[in-house]
């Protein structure tokens, strides 16, 4: 079993537009080990979403290579699941919560009982077992995002990719969801790639924080977070090491915005 799960090498994506070409991603390289929780932060418009779409196979990069578990990613692979920011548009309103969580499993798991088990297990893990028969639009925003997470968890991916999933959710709910993500990571050993613009969130959640430069984007810094594994909202965020790390990341982002950081090598 390889230790490296995800390999991104020299990834580049150029968009064509009527006013000229836009280089959304310049040159991004990083690796992710099995069972890691990696956060990606960067200034606005630095192509974080484009990066995720390239990694998940939804977009074809202009250059570079993405490999998941040694296999090149050309289209969405079956061992990867995506959680979008717009939960309202990602869940299907004509399906119940259970229906939504079960849908991706229909072609993956043939037996109905197995599917039911996975669905119930996932809903239990996110704390929504009582809402299985409701429709997504009957639930609050935070609960809807939990449904989206349950759907990803039930899919049993090796790596879970989350694209600013809590940006559209209020602060208190966000704290609960962050803890949910960490518990999923620790209890299920899920590898997680988490994109956010919230610096505190990235330090709180991550084992590593990757800071992106501004467009054309490259990896400005790959920071190891040496906070203890057991984290909670109150104590961890009060630790002096937390403050050090977040200040460092913040400074990096500021440098990225100003375009001050110098690209190593080329």
């Amino acid at each position: 079993m390889r230790d490296t799960l995800l390999e991104v090498e020299n990834l580049k994506k150029v968009y064509e537009s009527s006013t000229g070409d836009v280089e959304a991603i310049g040159d991004i390289s990083f690796t992710m080990k099995r069972g890691e929780l990696v956060c990606i932060v960067g200034p606005s418009g630095c192509g974080k979403t484009t990066l995720l779409k390239c990694i998940s196979g939804l977009l074809t990069p202009t250059a570079g290579r993405v490999e998941l578990d040694g296999v090149a990613v050309k289209s969405p692979p079956p061992n990867m699941a995506l959680v979008f920011q717009e939960y309202g548009r990602s869940l299907y309103p004509w399906l119940t919560v259970r229906g939504n969580v079960e849908l991706p499993l229909k072609h993956k798991v043939k037996s109905k009982e197995e599917r039911q088990k996975l669905v119930e297990d996932a809903l239990l893990a996110v704390g929504l077992d009582h809402a299985a028969g409701s429709y997504p639009w009957q639930l609050s925003g935070g609960m809807q995002q939990r449904v989206a997470i349950a759907r990803a968890v039930a899919y049993q991916p090796e790596v879970l990719i989350m694209d600013e999933p809590f940006a559209a959710v209020d602060a208190q709910t966000r704290a609960d969801l962050e803890d949910l993500v960490r518990s999923l990571h620790r209890e299920r050993g899920m590898s997680l790639l988490f994109v956010t613009h919230d610096i505190d969130e990235s330090v709180y959640l991550g084992e590593r924080v990757i800071v992106l430069s501004k467009s054309p984007t490259w990896v400005q810094e790959d920071l190891a977070i040496d906070l203890p594994d057991e984290r909670d909202q109150i104590t961890t965020r009060a630790m002096p090491r937390f403050t050090e790390l977040r200040t460092h990341v913040y400074e990096q982002i500021q440098r990225a915005k100003r375009g001050e950081a110098v690209r190593p090598g080329a």
């Binding site: 150029v14 064509e16 000229g20 990069p61 202009t62």
Partner: protein
Amino acid sequence: MTTASAPVPRLRSRRQTHGLRKLLLGIVGIAGFLLTWELIPLAKIVSPEYLPPASTVLGVLVTEFMDLEFWRNVGRTMTTWGVGLLIATVAATAIGTIVGLVPALRRFTHTTVEFLRPIPSVALIPLAILMFGFQMPAALLIVVYASFWQVFVQVLYGVADVDTVARDTARSFGLTRAERFRNLVLPTALPYIMTGVRLGAAVALILTVTAELLIAVPGIGRIIVFARSAGDVPTVYAYVVVAGLLGLIVNLVFRLVERRVLSWHQSVRGEDPA
């Protein structure tokens, strides 16, 4: 996967390419349709007596275009259409506004509206003939009855759709009824009214031609009837094409007007027609 070393300036953007492609495909589609139309009677799949080839029909069309009587008939049809639409719009806006603004009236008239609305206008043709004979007013009755409902329903939606926050704001600023109507209800209802008029215009044209067809009121529809009884099949087809073209033009014009008038409105609401 192409490896681009540096951004390459494009001669034509992707969007322009697609627009051009769409235009070309559309033209190919029309050409293909005309070709099929030409070939089916020629290949005797359907007898050319009943389905004259496209070239014959187009020939008739060209001849008609140069005939003054043709344009007079178009004028008659459009007059019936225009007058009917105008009456329907004025009546529907007036009645619709009153009913829409008074909730009690709305509830009272609800069942009546829901019963009268589905009655096909053509069912009234015998009545129209009895009342007005085989004249234009008979057609007018049919046209007005059908278009009225299109506009009326939209006006009801529009008047009811006033944003509650905006209304509360207006009231808290002490605007009078009239001011609220002018500044709040009218702008909210305007997109709906425009949609209603557009739908009503399409319906009015259809019913004008239908009435001319069935009541032999002067106009395009009547020519079709005459041509049919005379066994002049190509002319029948030619005038069907004319009816279609008129419908297209009317729809296009109203869409343009709607977009212009409502350019300040972020969404075009109401039921989009087929």
